[in-house]
Amino acid sequence: MEIFSIKNAKKSFENNLDVLQDISISVAKGEVAAIIGPSGSGKSTLLRCATLLEKMDSGELYYSGEKAAWNNEAGKTVYASPEKLRQIKSKFGLVFQNFNLFPHYSVLKNITDAPISIQKRKKDEVIQEGLVLLEKMGLSDKADAYPFQLSGGQQQRVSIARALAMKPDILFFDEPTSALDPELTGEILRVIRSLAAEHMTMVIVTHEIEFARNVADRIIFIAGGVIVEEGNAESLISDPQNDRTKAFLNRLQR
C-alpha cells in the first residue's frame, strides 16, 4: 500500500529558480527510503514540500490515497482545505536537523501536548504512551527535564518521540544527525534502525552513506533538483550507474 507520494513536484523561489524540477517519489508501507545528494540539490525543499511547510508551484501530493494537493487545469498546485490539511498532517511527522523542541515545555510535555490538545486524544492514555516512547528512546529518567538540560543526541531522541507520539503513518527526517557532535550520531542512527526493524515507514535525508546503505530499502540520489538515480540501496552504493552518482559517492568516500 502506498503511504506517501509526491508527483511531478516543481518549486522555484523568487531568487532561486527550479530548485525542484519535476520530482516524483512514492513510498510503500513499511518502506525506508534514503535521499542523498550534494548540498543545495533540493533535498530539504523536497521534504518541506512533502510536509506542507513549503508550497509547490506545481505537482501533486497524496497521503494514504488522500489528496493533499493536486494540479488545476493551468497545471498549478491547488491545496486541500485547511480542515482537510489539518487532518492529513496527523499522517506524517518530521524530524528536523536542529530538533526544534519547545524549550519552555518539559520533555514529556513536548511529546504529549500535540496529541492531547491537537488530536484531542485522552490525556491519561497519551501520557502513558509518551512514557513508553521515552523508555524506548532510553530517556525514562528525563520526562521532567527541560530541553536545555539534555545533550544534542538526547534532544534529537525527544524530537523523534514527539513525532512518533502523533502516531504518523510515515516519518520524514532531514539530516537528523548533522547538528550533532560525531560521537552522538550513533545513538540517533540506532534509534532509526530500530524503527526500521519495526517497519516504520520512513524517508531519510542523510549524508551518512553507510547508514543509508544499511537501513534503507531504496536510495534516491538527487542533484540539481532532479532525481538522477534511484534503486536498491545496496546496489546503488556499490554499483552506481550514473556518472554524477559515481562522482558524488567518490567524493564522499575520499
Binding site: F102, Y146, R162
Partner: protein, 216 residues
C-alpha cells in the same frame, strides 16, 4: 498643618499614583501586544497606521500628549471638560503612550523567535493562533521581561507628570504642602515613597524573571 494631616494628604496622593500606575499597565500591556501584531500584519494600511502611531507616541513628550488628551475634546469639539475626566485623561494618555513602547518591545521579542519553533508547531498541527498563544508568546514574554522592567520603572516616575493637568497624585500633593507649609518634609516623604515603590516593583519583576528561569 499637623504631621498626621500631612501624611493623610500624602497618602491620598500616593493612592492616586499607584492607581495611575496599575491602570496604565493593565491597559497598555495587552494594548501593546495588539499594536505589535498590527504593526507586523500584512495589511499595509494597518501596518502603516500603527507605524505612524508608534512614531508619534515615542517622538513627542508624554506631557504634551497628556495635555492634548485632556484639552483636546474642548478645543477640537467644544465639549466641556468635566472634572471627573481629569483622572481618566491621564489613564488614557499614559495607556496609549506606553502601549507604543510596549508594542516595540513585543515586536522585537516576536521577531527574535527562531523560525524553527513555528515550523515544528505547524508540522504538529497547531493552528496559527495556538502556535502563537502556546509556543511563541510564553517564550517572548521571558525574552522581553528585562525590557518591560525598564519601562515599568520609568512609568513609576512618569506618574508624577499627571500634575500637569492638576491630578492630585503624590507629587502634586507634596508640592502643594511644601509651598503652603514652607517645609521640605513633604518632598522627603514623596522621595521615600517613589523610592520604595520602585524597590517593590523591582523585586516583583525580579521574582517574575526568576519564575521563568526554569528553562533556557
Amino acid at each position: 498643618m499637623s504631621i498626621s494631616v500631612m501624611l493623610s494628604k500624602l497618602g491620598e496622593g500616593m493612592i492616586t499614583s499607584v492607581l495611575i500606575f496599575t491602570l496604565t499597565l493593565l491597559f497598555s500591556l495587552p494594548l501593546g501586544l495588539i499594536v505589535a501584531l498590527a504593526r507586523m500584519s500584512k495589511n499595509i494600511i494597518l501596518k502603516n497606521f500603527t507605524r505612524i502611531y508608534i512614531s508619534i507616541m515615542r517622538g513627542t513628550p508624554l506631557m504634551l500628549q497628556l495635555l492634548v488628551v485632556y484639552f483636546g475634546p474642548y478645543y477640537l469639539f467644544g465639549i466641556s471638560i468635566s472634572s471627573g475626566y481629569r483622572f481618566w485623561a491621564v489613564i488614557l494618555a499614559f495607556s496609549i503612550n506606553y502601549a507604543a513602547y510596549f508594542a516595540e518591545i513585543y515586536r522585537g521579542g516576536i521577531e527574535s523567535m527562531p523560525l524553527g519553533q513555528y515550523e515544528a508547531a505547524r508540522v504538529l498541527g497547531y493552528s496559527e493562533s495556538q502556535t502563537f498563544m502556546k509556543i511563541i508568546l510564553p517564550q517572548v514574554i521571558k525574552r522581553i521581561i528585562p525590557a518591560i522592567t525598564n519601562e515599568v520603572i520609568t512609568l513609576i516616575k512618569d506618574t508624577s507628570l499627571a500634575f500637569s493637568i492638576a491630578v492630585t497624585e503624590m507629587f502634586t500633593v507634596a508640592k502643594a504642602i511644601a509651598s503652603s507649609e514652607k517645609t521640605m518634609v513633604s518632598y522627603v516623604a514623596a522621595g521615600i515613597f517613589y523610592y520604595v515603590f520602585n524597590f517593590v516593583v523591582a523585586v516583583v519583576m525580579e521574582s517574575i524573571e526568576k519564575k521563568l528561569d526554569y528553562y533556557r
